[in-house]
């Protein structure tokens, strides 16, 4: 019976069984819903030599989230927990970069130190934050949520310390490039940053066995150890990567506002990153993961935000509507709902054959 249906609806069935099917459907649904009120949602125009349009805005604004989602996916898969400190680590990285560039002043119009130095220092500090998280989780076996709670609470304080409690401004064009446009290029620069991170992550997972190791450790770390994997090291590595990527996201976010606002850079972004991982169809309990799913999840979240703005929802009411949509998407992807939907489809196709069978018996 299953063979015959497989033959008639082969491609469709295969499509719906793909792992990324639901995340993609959710993203498309969110995007298409705009056609009702904002028919020009998909229109892309060139103004002043750069690309404009809602869709460009979605891709651009999602960049930091995409970068965070990559790290969050690996952390989740390996340790079965999440790194909730990434938003705070972004603020720390931004503070370090701005403070070095301003030379300790509150505001500057020229670089006090080389740009490269600031970037490298910011990334090193963020990576060290990742090392701390990794040490607490992997070596000391502290629950990820508890371990990363430390930097979640302390991180913004550290950023304040670095900037002496001020908002440090770097009013230099070169600093704003990463958050705006490369000269002469119409595509927003954050898109390239996100793209670079995704490509590098993809190449690393393809060219090394890190992905397989992470899945092994996430599924059964005892068995992983007995086949010669160093579970501790692998978990540690994922937190280090996550910290580093939070640093990259922090630099992009800080460049957008050419300042280090310790209280607002990356605020609540850790929750969006976790949500992106979940929306992508990944289990938050660890194990098998799909990076592409998380990335799609990240764009879905940003698409949702932009859509709600396009519907003229005011920003203070935004979380309410966002929550409603997220709940719908999550229910849609839940195993119970999927089983029910599958049963519904099956019943519809099975009814005639069952009736025929019943007739034959009697």
């Amino acid at each position: 019976m299953s063979e015959s249906t497989a033959k008639s609806g082969f491609s469709f069935k295969k499509l719906t069984h793909m792992k990324l099917f639901l995340p993609i459907v959710c993203l498309i649904a969110v995007l298409l819903s705009n056609l009702i009120k904002t028919p020009d949602f998909f229109k892309i125009a060139i103004n002043n030599g750069v690309l404009y349009g809602y869709i460009i805005d979605v891709i651009n604004r999602a960049s930091e989230l995409v970068i965070l989602a990559v790290g969050m996916t690996l952390v989740t898969a390996a340790s079965g927990g999440q790194d909730i400190s990434v938003g705070a680590v972004m603020a720390v990285a931004a503070a370090v970069a701005c403070q070095i560039l301003s030379g300790g002043e509150v505001s500057t119009t020229v670089f006090a130190n080389p740009y490269a130095l600031a970037v490298i220092a910011a990334l090193i500090v963020a990576t060290l934050c990742g090392c701390l998280n990794g040490f607490l989780v992997a070596n000391l076996n502290i629950q990820p949520m508890v371990a990363t709670l430390i930097l979640f609470t302390a991180g913004r304080g550290i950023a304040q310390l670095v900037t002496n409690g001020q908002i440090t401004y770097v009013r230099v064009d070169a600093y704003q490039i990463l958050g705006s446009y490369f000269p002469g290029n119409p595509i927003p620069a954050p898109i390239f940053a996100a793209l670079a991170v995704v490509i590098i992550a993809y190449v690393i997972l393809k060219k090394t066995t890190l992905g397989l190791y992470i899945e092994c450790v996430g599924i059964n770390s005892r068995a992983a150890r007995l086949v010669g994997l160093n579970s501790t090291k692998i978990k540690f590595i994922t937190y280090v990567i996550c910290g580093f990527l939070a640093g990259v996201a922090g630099l992009v976010a800080s460049s957008r506002i050419y300042s280090a606002d310790a209280n607002n850079v990356g605020l609540n972004l850790e929750m969006d990153a976790i949500l992106a991982v979940a929306l992508g169809g990944n289990l938050l309990g660890g194990g098998k993961f799909t990076l592409a799913g998380s990335i799609i999840g990240a764009y879905t979240i940003q698409a949702l935000t932009t859509t709600l703005y396009a519907w003229n929802v005011s920003s203070d009411q935004l979380p309410v509507y966002k929550a409603v949509v997220v709940v719908i998407i999550v229910i849609f992807q839940s195993p119970v709902f999927q089983k029910w939907a599958k049963g519904l489809g099956k019943r519809r196709t099975a009814v005639p054959s069952a009736a025929a069978k019943g007739g034959a018996v009697k």
Binding site: T208, L212, A223, V227, G228, K288
Partner: protein, 511 residues
């Protein structure tokens, strides 16, 4: 003189993606009988039970229960329970941290004005336990009872829910002989009260001890239903395997090569120990030799090999591999020295459940090669296909998650994982536990073949017969200490028992 039928299943079908798990299977259970459900791993026993109890939905067929004049469809174990069908699984599904009485009444506690009536509950529980001759106190914590008593309390709970059909899924696999005996007494008692019992087990002996009828399944189809008195053991095995079977004849006969005494031993442990689990021991294994480790459960058999393999880092002593002294700090070090370790607990320490058969096979070799030298997809697929073919692993494809394979096939995948690393020394800790008799023999033959190929093997099993069939020498352990070795003429059932028991020593009770 047909007894009254309490349960019939007719034409049961169950299809999983790529596999027909059950095809047109009939099953009949009568009042007051113990009915064995037999078959190799993957024959469909568990699937049949899960369909019956509502864990799976059948794709075809009908179930009828006495007293209901229409087919029933169980959508959940709860519904099945309401119809009087209860199941007790291999792993006891009760809560060890609450009392026996609470476990018996959880979900339907006697109440007074909305609050739990503890006094009535404890009295009722006490009565129930007494009526079934279970030696436990109602107010005792369940965790303080032995595994056998816990098993019986699980049964008592089922009985208390007025069950007419009681399904026991491998209830004896973690019990010792005494405990099994107690369980059988309880089963007989329930039988006398008219409960129909479905008994799933791998132990032929137990079937012939207590059962009245046997239903045999093979590859998801019904082979037949037989009266125990009319089906000799050999024929039962033949029916399960679907071929004439030479009664697990002396497979050792063809393998005569024996240990290679010229070279240094592959493994030479001197005073190795791990504090708290195994006291200092000397242990040698040579090429071409299968050395058994025997002793009661918890005597330190697994702990000894774990300290060699680095699963527990040895804190004292020396280990020489092929004559060279080495330091093993972690499993990878041992693997680099050519060791392989099949752990005792397949589920917890062996399989990586969500990964595919292919990934499970290549993972050890891949770990050995390191993170920056990934195997190509082609190489991995070829390796997986080779071993699926060689060990006749029954799987829908190499990309099937290992968790959907039957236990015996999972074990074969783990064996393939280690054979792929081409080890000199294999540690096999209970490789045949919970595995059907056909696969068991295959694995035993494989062990002897490996020895023939000049590999050194350490074999651990609780089944003495199996040890006798495969090992050329045995080390005996007792209470975390290696107490001796036996070989040659001492290698008989009796000799081993004596060695395990020790001279005139009282048995220390708890395992």
């Amino acid at each position: 003189m047909e007894q009254e039928v309490v349960l019939t299943m007719r034409g049961t079908d169950k299809i999983f993606p790529g596999v027909k798990a059950l095809q047109n299977v009939d099953f009949t259970l009568r009042k007051g009988e113990i009915h064995a459900l037999m078959g190799e791993n993957g024959a469909g026993k568990s699937t049949l039970i899960k369909v019956l109890t509502g864990v799976y939905e059948a794709d075809g067929g009908e179930i009828r229960v006495a007293g209901t004049d229409r087919p029933v469809v169980n959508k959940s174990p709860q519904e099945a329970q309401n119809l009087g069908i209860s199941t007790v699984y291999q792993e006891v599904n009760l809560c060890t941290n609450i009392t026996v009485a609470e476990n018996l009444f959880i979900g339907h506690e006697p109440r007074k004005a909305g609050f739990i009536d503890w006094k009535t509950m404890n009295t009722k529980a006490g009565e129930l336990l007494r009526s079934l001759d279970i030696k436990a106190e109602a107010t005792q914590k369940l965790g303080d009872c032995s595994l056998a008593i816990q098993q019986m309390i699980a049964i008592a709970r089922a009985v208390n829910m007025k069950c007419r059909v009681l399904i026991l899924d491998e209830p004896t696999s973690s019990l010792d002989d005494d405990e099994v005996e107690k369980l059988f007494v309880l089963m007989q008692k329930l039988k006398g009260e008219g409960v129909g019992i479905v008994f799933v087990t791998h132990f032929l002996e137990q079937v012939y001890r207590v059962c009245d009828r046997i239903t045999v399944l093979r590859n998801g189809t019904l082979v037949g239903e037989y009266k125990v008195s009319e089906l000799p053991r050999l024929q039962l095995v033949a029916k399960m395997m679907g071929k004439n079977f030479d009664d697990l004849a002396d497979i050792k006969g063809a393998h005569t090569k024996g240990a290679d005494l010229k070279d240094a031993p592959v493994i030479d442990a001197e005073g190795l120990s791990h504090t708290g689990t195994i006291k200092p021991f000397n242990f040698q294994v040579r090429r071409g030799e299968v050395v058994g480790l025997t002793g009661l459960l918890g005597s330190g058999r697994s702990e000894l090999v774990r300290s060699i393999y680095g699963a527990d880092r040895a804190d004292k002593g020396k280990l020489k591999v092929n004559g060279k002294e080495v330091r093993i700090n972690k499993p990878l070090d041992a693997m680099m020295q050519g060791m392989a370790y099949l752990p005792e607990d397949r589920k917890m320490d062996g399989i990586i459940a969500d990964l595919s058969v292919r990934e499970n096979i290549i993972i050890a070799l891949q770990a050995k090669r390191g993170m920056f030298k990934p195997m190509s997809r082609k190489e991995a697929e070829e390796a997986a296909d080779k071993f699926i073919d060689l060990l006749q692993i029954k799987t829908a494809s190499r990309e099937t998650p290992i968790k959907s394979l039957s236990g015996g096939n999972q074990q074969k995948v783990i064996i393939a994982r280690w054979l792929l690393t081409n080890p000199d020394y294999l540690i096999l800790d209970e490789p045949t536990r919970g595995i059907d008799i056909g696969t068991k023999t295959e694995i035993q033959k494989l062990v002897l073949d490996l020895a023939d190929q000049d590999k050194a093997v350490t074999f651990i099993s609780s089944e003495i017969e199996e040890m006798l069939r495969t090992c050329s020498r045995m080390a005996v352990l007792r209470d975390g200490q290696k107490v001796g070795e036996i070989s040659g003429s001492e290698m008989t059932q009796e000799g081993i028992m004596k060695a395990i028991a020790g001279a005139g020593k009282e048995e220390t009770g708890n395992v």
